[in-house]
Symmetry: C2
Subunit: 360 residues, 2 copies
């Protein structure tokens, strides 16, 4: 790939700051590699919505579709009603571009302190379903605002949708040393969806006989993430449970400022999208405090997805070295940490952080 | 109240063991108080289902209804299809008896070590809605078992149901020193249900002007439970989110072996039900290893609910003294701990524990 056409959706709040750092790292790691990156900025988010009422038009979507990958900063602003940008922009991108594998590593790097585990012990990845479950926008309300209001949310789960993400998760488990897959759901209560997931894991296991599996209810999963996070290798779960446990996983692995993610279209029928797990953190936006590490690690995932394995490894190694050097404080307070990407060739950014108070 | 008519549903696995200890504590704390307890055992759970195919008949329910309170051990067994006992017995009790306030304290007692906080720092209570949300059993599947299967789960939320639990949570917050209420939901994605909850909290706040409120998405709540659990006072949330975060809270406050709960009918139109948060732990059942602390603390909640405040305080003090003496190990492995209820007058039970591997 001589040229990466990159759609850049910086979005709101600290989105611009972290994306700038991510792009700087991307350019410097590609310098002299024979691969170039051509970024195209898309003005989407709160500003655009205030100006035009638009979140993501068909034209935006078609333009984005013509790219090789997407780098996204953060979506969401207190001046916009909750749900408008999340559903109309972020989830619309994930659903329209069929990002059915939402990949979220949970890894404790040397130098990052956690009271719950030793570095090296925790190294798992969550394969979160990205295109159905309770995120589909099915549901509504009647008699809204009256004492007779009824509001519903419908989780829609298809054999098609569950099977493809489960198969992807098995393949990832098979490629890892421990070859273990944990299904997280709540099949003792959500019996319809839960049993579909359970049956699918059992069926697809036949194609991956060397992968061992187990099952945890989502409530029990939060316990083990606290008491024994190193027990996990690959976790596969639905859209909502994946949202919840990956934030918890981030807290365990050094904080939300370090958590990267990829919204992957494994069939490559549309560009995949890489974004930090954190939100737009309006309370610290514009202050040069946002920790770009999660975005830089998302860039590493982007490079790997595009087959630039060596470049991806260099970015990850640079982040790991940076974390080992500066450490990362884990604790009761937000994490404020300087970052340096000199190992990637990028200029060290100013002292930066993501306030824990501003996670989305 | 000269006599407490107590319905006892020991249930499956370690249920019998922990309930026996709970009853012993109850009897000894009431000895000489002028109040007696008359327990009636209900044979419900896996054994009954295997024998008769019944989970909870109308007759069972009517008989249970005639009691002042219910003490429940644990429901669930690997020999019964997942969901049968949970939905047909445990949730049927909660729904039929209108247990709309599922009360789950998160408190770190002196002597209980947690790497995430100091004892005394963590003292919150989760008010989990108990009669609607995704737990209502609405949904189904079509073309089940085929590649065209579609399975749905419908979360049903009513203004009636949300308002009454929110009002209860405000009243509890008002009665506590910090007077703070946190709503946990996911209103940026589950916009229908989420906005009903948000609007309801805003509206009911007018009746409790001295209570401060804030809001957290459920994913962010799992972060704060990890990094800053002491920030919470009262949390109000829906049935599913409440299930998830109260297991996480238990892990933080010394383990699932200590977590008590009350399924409260605040209008007292039916008996309330008290149960440990943990499950039936079939892997350690019958070995005298189950930690009865959570059940004993549930007995304290039962006494408080029946107005026996002094007796309730004595049980809590006895548990607190026991925890301070023996400590409680928090960590990566299951908690194995001896308990002694001598301060309540009960015989010390054998060395007991709840295996973290068996939480439900
Ligand atoms: C902003 C929100 C819609 C989003 C989600 O729930 O997926 C976020 O929490 C995430 O995890 O990426
Ligand atoms: C057993 C199960 C139905 C139950 C629930 O989900 O409510 C349990 O996890 C709990 O928290 O009491």
């Amino acid at each position: 790939m001589p040229n990466i056409k990159l759609a850049v959706v910086a979005g709101d709040g600290i989105g611009t700051e972290v994306v700038d750092q991510g792009l700087a790292v991307l350019e410097s790691v590609l310098a002299g590699s024979g691969t170039q990156v051509t970024p195209t900025a898309f003005e989407l988010g709160a500003k655009r919505w205030h100006a035009t009422g638009e979140t993501l038009t068909d034209d935006d979507l078609e333009a984005i579709r013509a790219h090789d990958a997407i780098l996204l900063g953060a979506i969401g602003d207190p001046t916009v009603p909750s749900g408008v940008l999340e559903r109309g922009l972020l989830l619309k991108l994930r659903f329209s571009l069929d990002h059915y594998v939402n990949l979220r590593p949970g890894k404790l790097y040397p130098g990052v302190k956690s009271p719950l585990a030793e570095p090296g012990e925790v190294d798992f990845v969550v394969v979160r379903e990205g295109t159905e479950g309770p995120y589909g926008g099915v549901g509504g309300s009647v008699r809204t605002g009256t004492p007779q209001e009824i509001a519903t949310e419908v989780s829609v789960n298809t054999a098609f949708g569950v099977e493809r993400v489960v198969r992807d998760a098995f393949a990832r488990a098979q490629a890892r040393p421990r070859k273990h897959l944990t299904l997280v759901h709540k099949h003792n209560v959500l019996v319809n969806a839960g049993h579909l997931w359970r049956r699918t894991v059992e069926a697809v296991n036949a194609e991956f006989p060397d992968v061992t599996t187990d099952y945890l209810h989502v409530d029990a999963a939060t316990i083990f993430l606290t008491t024994n996070p190193s027990r996990f290798d690959v976790i596969v779960t639905d859209n909502l449970f994946g949202d919840i446990i990956t934030d918890q996983a981030a807290a365990i692995c050094g904080g939300i400022g370090l958590a990267a993610s990829g919204n992957i279209n494994p069939d490559r029928t549309a560009p995949s999208m890489f974004e930090p797990v954190h939100g737009s953190a309006p309370d610290i936006a514009g202050q040069g405090k946002a920790d770009p590490t999660a975005t830089v690690m998302s860039v590493a995932m982007l490079l790997a997805h595009l087959g630039l394995t060596e470049e991806s490894a260099r970015v990850e190694a640079a982040v790991a070295a940076d974390l080992a050097e500066r450490g990362a404080e884990y604790g009761r307070r937000p994490r404020w940490a300087a970052t340096s990407h000199s190992a990637c060739g990028a200029e060290p950014p100013p002292t930066t952080a993501v306030a824990a108070g501003s996670v989305r």
